[in-house]
């Protein structure tokens, strides 16, 4: 009686012209991940954002995209790594970044502008200046190619979906290759997924609700995050249900004054306990 190994080899040999390695499972790539610092999001991503890939955070305004990205940047900069934030609409708030724990000295901020230098196209005298989107894409290209940045955030959160979808696929493919080569996590913020097949992870963020409407200050933003795409999922099932819903998670983000209040209450409780 032939062994199972011999039987498998026999079957694979018979089918090798039509289906190479028909019974051998394809090797899985286990990607290194870095945590975002938000436990519920990290659980959803099986540990965090994969290194050397493109991760997209999509959703409308006030859906928590910036908070997740800043939290991820804070984790990396506190390790001493260098990160970059490419801001197409110049909307990053340094105070929020510092409050999240981002080491601002380790953050390169590229603020795209309308009053930029003209394109270096010497053949055309009527060369138009770079648009903000052009600048952001080119800056991303330059930073990815130069290497050394552990995380780069391409902030297209305020760009219209039409403009974002006009970005050529070749651009995203080039970003993916460069990110893989330089071990850089590229996080793209947008209203919709733009990178398509080049993205390793797509997280869809949904707008917030505020839990304590009756209070005097706005607090406790609740966000919902759905994982729309994950290329390097460690657990894969060969059978996919048609009505399967994408995995999702809820997370709560307090406002800055919530944390101050919480810290003071903890301090008070500690003092009472000691007393």
């Amino acid at each position: 009686m032939p062994s199972s190994v011999a039987l498998r080899q026999q079957i694979e040999t018979a089918f090798q012209h039509r289906y190479p390695s028909v019974l051998t499972p394809s090797p899985k790539t286990i990607r290194e991940v870095v945590p975002t610092g938000i436990i519920r999001v990290d659980e959803l991503l099986n540990g965090g954002i994969p290194v050397g890939t493109i991760t997209e955070l999509t959703g409308p305004a006030s859906s928590g995209r910036t908070s997740i990205a800043l939290s991820a940047i804070a984790q990396r900069t506190c390790e001493g790594s260098v990160c970059a934030w490419i801001d197409a609409k110049d909307s990053l708030d340094p105070e929020s970044a510092a409050a999240t724990g981002v080491s601002l000295n380790h953050l390169l901020w590229v603020r795209c502008s309308d009053k930029a230098s003209p394109r270096p196209d010497r053949s055309r005298k009527d060369a138009q200046p770079w648009t903000r989107l052009d600048q952001a894409l080119r800056a991303t290209d330059i930073l990815l190619q130069s290497g050394g940045f552990s995380t780069i955030v391409l902030d297209l959160a305020d760009e219209s979906i039409e403009h974002g979808r006009r970005i050529p696929l070749a651009t995203w493919f080039r970003y993916r290759q460069a990110a893989d080569r330089t071990r850089c996590s590229l996080i793209v913020l947008g209203k919709a997924p733009f990178a398509q097949s080049s993205a390793a992870v797509v997280l869809e963020c949904h707008p917030s609700t505020v839990s304590s409407i009756s209070g005097t200050v706005i607090r406790n933003f609740n966000y919902k995050v759905q994982r729309r795409r994950e290329r390097f999922s460690p657990v894969t099932s060969p059978i996919t249900s048609i009505d399967r819903k994408p995995p999702s998670s809820d997370w709560t983000s307090p406002a800055a004054w919530d944390l101050v209040k919480r810290a003071s209450s903890e301090h008070r409780a500690t003092a009472e306990h000691r007393a």
Binding site: S63, V82, N105, H106, G148, L259
Partner: protein, 504 residues
């Protein structure tokens, strides 16, 4: 060694002829294969004072006027530049100082001559002929063509280098023979003396050296003793070495004003290469380069490029120069270009095996320069918070990875961040019972479901950048059901409602 015995002496004389032409052409490789003349004087009485070999082949000689040169045709006519000659002399001196610290300058008409005391350097550079070849190769690499003579006698080396081409090695005791064919114009003679020697039929130093000294002195006095010593190659000389200050400077003036950056960079590349070569000779790097340009009918242009670490990478520095000029192009045609470099120690970055990921410093310089050229110099860097209660105040500071301390603070727990709108959008707002109820941002109308506020803040009333704001945190929905959380401000100074930021 007995007290009467003189220490062995050896001198190398370097003579760069047509120095006004060579000082300009060394930075203009495009003209090196073309006939070029240098004019000096006040128009219209300008005359040729220097020329290259191609112009000489076309029949040009010194002393011709501009009109006579233009009649020949296809000759590049350049104007003499004293500053370029000074810079070139410094470069030549720097080059020669690689071989000896004791250098004396010899003043020669229309040329630049130096004599090096190379006694005792045989063990370092080899025999005299090897020293001469290495000397000449180094001078050629610096962009000059020079004749080199080596002799035990200072004046013999000097005179031979002035009146011969290429390399001349004069063995000890053969000085008189080496100088025999040189015309007596090499000596400091008056016109009367020239006339007398012409009557006597004496035209060369060899013929002069054959005259008896006892017969010469009664006729010409004591100076004739020095002439004979010079002609025989045994004149004494007290060496007076130069003490030059080390300065990395290159200067060039253009005969036609340059408007294209590419043309400017073509010349700038040579200047940077020369600066790097000179710094490298002293085991130094370029810590910064000051760019100064004289512009046509405009104020002088001054910029500075400063790599993160001192560098002697020619291509890297040229790229920084290119990006700096692209980001800040001169506003008029360039008439003169000066590069002054500050020397720094050659530094190495020690990379750690377990150090966090960071860009390579020199590569980061180019990256930042490219980004600045694209989006503006003040829009690339690290944000730094200002010590102010005014909302959204920060400044941009230079981004660097050198000596960056490792952050001590741990990342705090995540919190909702703001997305600023710069500049804030003006709104039309409806207020009911003291609270905002709805607002319109462009074509979109928002109904406010919850509003928290007002939060009043003001400050700097004594200054121009005073502020007086009323802030409202609101949750609003559009007609299409889209909801946002945002920050509205009421600017009391201008009495305007503005959409300042989103919570995201």
């Amino acid at each position: 060694m007995s007290p009467d015995t003189k220490p062995p002496s050896l001198f190398a004389a370097v003579h760069v002829s047509e120095f006004p032409a060579q000082s300009i052409l060394r930075l203009r490789p495009d003209l090196q294969s073309a006939p070029v003349v240098i004019l000096d004087g006040t128009p219209p009485q300008e005359r040729v004072i220097a020329l290259n070999s191609h112009a000489r082949k076309r029949g040009i000689i010194q002393g011709l006027t501009r009109l006579e040169v233009e009649e020949v045709g296809s000759i590049h006519i350049l104007t003499r530049s004293a500053e370029t000659e000074i810079a070139a002399r410094t470069v030549l001196l720097e080059t020669l100082s690689q071989f000896s610290p004791r250098i004396e300058e010899v003043f020669a008409n229309n040329a630049c001559s130096f004599v090096l005391d190379i006694a005792g350097s045989e063990r370092l550079f080899g025999a005299p002929d090897q020293i001469a070849h290495r000397l000449r190769e180094t001078i050629v690499a610096a962009g000059f063509r020079a004749s080199v003579s080596i002799s035990d006698n200072f004046h013999t080396a000097r005179i031979k280098s002035e009146f011969s081409r290429g390399i001349s090695i004069i063995p000890s005791g053969r000085e008189s023979n080496a100088l025999a064919s040189i015309p007596i114009s090499a000596l400091p003679l008056d016109l009367d003396h020239y006339g007398t020697f012409a009557l006597w039929g004496i035209g060369t130093l060899g013929e002069l050296a054959a005259l008896p000294e006892d017969e010469m002195i009664p006729r010409f006095g004591q100076p004739s003793r020095q002439w004979l010593a010079l002609a025989r190659g045994n004149a004494d000389h007290t060496f007076q070495p130069l003490e030059e200050k080390f300065e990395l400077k290159e200067h060039i003036e253009f005969e036609t004003h340059i408007e294209q950056l590419d043309a400017l960079l073509f010349i700038g590349a040579n200047m940077i290469a020369n600066l790097v070569a000179r710094a490298t000779c002293r085991a130094l790097s370029l810590a910064s380069i000051n760019i100064e340009m004289q512009l046509e009918r405009s104020p002088a242009y001054k910029r500075r490029i400063q790599p993160a670490i001192p560098s002697c990478d020619r291509k890297f520095l040229l790229k920084l120069l290119q990006l700096e000029l692209a980001a800040h192009p001169p506003q008029a045609a360039v008439t003169a270009l000066t590069l002054i470099a500050d020397a720094g120690r050659q530094s190495k970055i020690q990379l750690g095996l377990f150090a966090p990921q960071a860009p390579e410093p020199s590569r980061l310089d180019v990256t930042l320069a490219r980004l600045k050229a694209m989006v503006g110099a003040d829009r690339v860097g690290s944000p730094a918070l200002l010590d102010s209660h005014a909302p959204g105040r920060f400044q941009m500071q230079e981004f660097s990875v050198i000596d960056q301390p490792r952050p001590s603070a741990q990342p705090s727990s995540p919190r909702t961040s703001l997305r600023r709108i710069r500049p804030p959008h003006p709104l039309s707002l409806q207020i009911t019972e003291g609270k905002p109820r709805s607002f319109r941002d462009g074509a979109t109308r928002y109904e406010i479901s919850v509003a928290y506020g007002p939060w009043q803040s003001s400050g700097s009333w004594w200054d121009l950048d005073r502020w007086d704001l009323e802030e409202w945190d609101v949750m609003a929905t559009t007609n299409s059901g889209e909801s946002i959380s945002c920050l509205l401000i009421h600017d009391h100074l201008n009495n305007k409602w503005l959409l300042d930021a989103y919570y995201d």
